[in-house]
Amino acid sequence: MIRMMHALGASAVAVASFLGAQAPAEAKQLTLCWAAWDPANALVELGKDFTTKTGIEMKYEFVPWTSYADRFLNELNSKGKLCDLIIGDSQWIGGAAENGHYVKLNDFFKKEGITMDDFMPATVVGYSEWPKNTPNYWALPAMGDAIGWTYRKDWFARPEIQADFKKKYNHDLAPPQTWDQLKEIAEFFQGREIDGKKVYGAYIYTERGSEGITMGVTNALYDWGFQYDNPNKPYEMEGFVNSPEAVKALEFYKSLYKCCTAPGMSNAYMSEGLDAFKSGQVAMQMNFFAFFPGLYKDPNVGGDKIGFFVNPKEKYHYTQLGGQGISVVSYSPNRDDALAYIKWFAQPDIQKKWWALGGYSCHKAVLNDPGFAKSAPFAADFLKSMDIVKDFWAEPAYAELLLDMQKRVHDYVVADKGTAKEALDLLVKDWQKVFKEEGKI
């Protein structure tokens, strides 16, 4: 009996120590929140290395782009503990910093020897700094991105199409350098029959619900000379947002939508663009560089059939910044482990692996590598684009500013409501109201 009691006791100790050993292992887990898209899969692959090295399990919360902002801004605003790490959109940085959602990383960077000089300047300003252009860092640049274009290289190369184009426009068919050239090509392809199928000129963003049409139209607005405010007097928007150049750019975007997009593209964003291009429906597609590795691998339209080009220019040459930085959520109970992830992620070797897997590194060790431009067919265009990026407001009130722009632009471009001048005048009024409420004007 006594022996049996000993045996039971020993078993109990063994079970307890096993459970005891299990407990801390279970606690070593981090949740990373991001959007559900191709680069997220690459990050999952990359994260296995972190788990191997630290023993910390990685859990992921990926949300589709259309509900990404809603979902995670709600999470941050309610001080939720779901995310230890978050790859938040560049425009969130102001609000997240001022409302205390993100951990300020300056001291951590200093302690760990991480310097922002190692990252591409545009990404540091865009993804990490608040206030902008001050050395206050709230994120590590994680995923460089910008708007670029893809085109059907195989269609452009066909002799009969080349000849037809030359006959009509008296010059060769080639990837466009300017917006006028882009429209000319789009008009040329619009309604044309290729391989027995009716195709369309261009795919551009028109989505109403989240940020789509703003992320599209700004690519034209910046190039014509639109500015968010007076460079010498912040928040003075009259004459800058609704300048004659901005009006022309908005009119141009609408004319492009009317003349050269496929029917039914009145509420279309990233995924609709990918579908349109992959199904062989359009000759050219506006989309974020993040999707280009996946498109290049596509068996139907990838490889030799796809080409890439930088956002066209007009009077100026800019493109809309995409991409995100990675931040530690201040409500996370696993702050030290989350910081350990940032430290691991900032290493040049990991950044190289990140690029190799399909993520867009912002680290100079990757981007300044002599072989980088030739490492992928879109790499050179990505580098050029990241030199000319411009971003939307990153103010704490960015969501209001964005929704106002979505409404005014969609009203004009898609719903034919009023003129471009009226739309931008109303936008100025909306934005003035927001900044007045914010106490900034």
């Binding site: 029917p263 509420n267 209001e400 929704l403 898609v414 719903a415």
Partner: protein, 314 residues
């Protein structure tokens, strides 16, 4: 006649029975309804009072640490003088009036048909009821595909009958057609519900009334106007009430179908409210908007119920 306490006494264990027997009927009644009242207070009344309080402030839920300022009636004044809000109310009115009108007409017509016995009667009844069994989110999603100009079934069917190019028109991307697209989808989904209510009304009319009318040589048309319609009217009005309240706050289906677009053509009041509350985070302002919408629905429903009572009394 036994009291509540005596009835409880007969069933409850002795100690509990003793306690209950010492309580008055009123006290026992309170004891039973208190949990429900507390629950109601916690999840209905308290949030309502809190919303009313917030509607007089500049509160923003995404900035809990910002100083709270009472702004009096400013939020209400801003809302009532905002042309965008009035536009949303117009879009809502268009949606509610047309969808309900069509649902009543078609629903009542279907009920008249289904009320007759015919072969495969049960099968067709089930088929007609299918749309209302689906989730509005699912309906919104698959109708976006059905209405897609290039691959959608809807455009192909219209093209088949009219000879037009299927991609020559777009239901949800066109300012003139989009408001009708959401009406059409709602009618498709909720007409069966109206049909069910009307069917209940039709089945409640006793046969002897029609038999008496036959004896009096009343025509079918006369029977419809003098018997069927008046006797089904309370049911129809009930259906209008239910559908009007539902459609006034319709969000999911419209949001998935058009996101309020093109532009703000189909931005119904609930979409405006959601954008103000959970995208712009203007909690005070959106609380005021919610109160205005609540008062509108509550007031209209109250007037309507009184009219309904009068119709029933006739």
């Amino acid at each position: 006649m036994s009291t509540l306490a005596e009835r409880a006494d007969a069933r409850a264990p002795r100690r509990l029975a003793f306690r209950l027997s010492t309580m008055s009927d009123r006290a026992i009644a309170w004891l039973f309804i208190t949990p429900s009242v507390l629950l109601l207070l916690a999840i209905n009344i308290f949030p309502l009072l809190w919303t009313i309080q917030l509607s007089f402030t500049n509160y923003r839920a995404n900035r809990p640490n910002a100083p709270l300022r009472y702004v009096g009636l400013d939020n209400y004044r801003d809302i009532l003088s905002d042309p965008d809000v009035w536009h949303a109310m117009q879009a809502t009115a268009h949606f509610v009036l047309w969808s309900i009108g069509l649902e009543m007409l078609i629903g009542f017509g279907l009920a008249l048909l289904i009320n007759r016995r015919f072969r495969a009667h049960s099968f067709w009844t089930t088929m007609i009821l299918l749309p209302m069994m689906l989730s509005p989110a699912v309906v919104g999603n698959f109708w976006t595909f059905l209405l897609q100009p290039q691959i959608g079934l809807f455009n192909s069917v219209v093209a088949f009958f009219t000879g037009a190019d299927p991609s020559s028109f777009q239901m949800i991307g066109d300012v003139a057609l989009a408001p009708w697209a959401i009406v059409m989808v709602d009618v498709w989904m909720w007409t069966p519900y109206v049909m069910l209510i009307c069917l209940a009304g039709l089945r409640s009319i006793p046969d002897y009334i029609y038999e008496a009318a036959e004896v009096d040589r009343a025509s079918r048309w006369r029977q419809f106007w003098s018997i069927t319609l008046p006797m089904v009217m309370p049911f129809l009005m009930l259906a209008i009430l239910f559908r009007a309240i539902e459609n006034f706050k319709m969000f999911d289906m419209v949001n998935l179908l058009t996101s309020g677009g093109p532009g703000s053509t189909t931005e119904v009041a609930s979409i405006t409210l959601k954008r103000e509350a959970f995208e712009k985070w203007r909690t005070g302002y959106s609380s005021a908007l919610a109160i205005i919408l609540f008062v509108t629905v509550f007031g209209a429903a109250n007037i309507y119920v009184r009219v309904l009572d009068r119709v029933k009394q006739r």
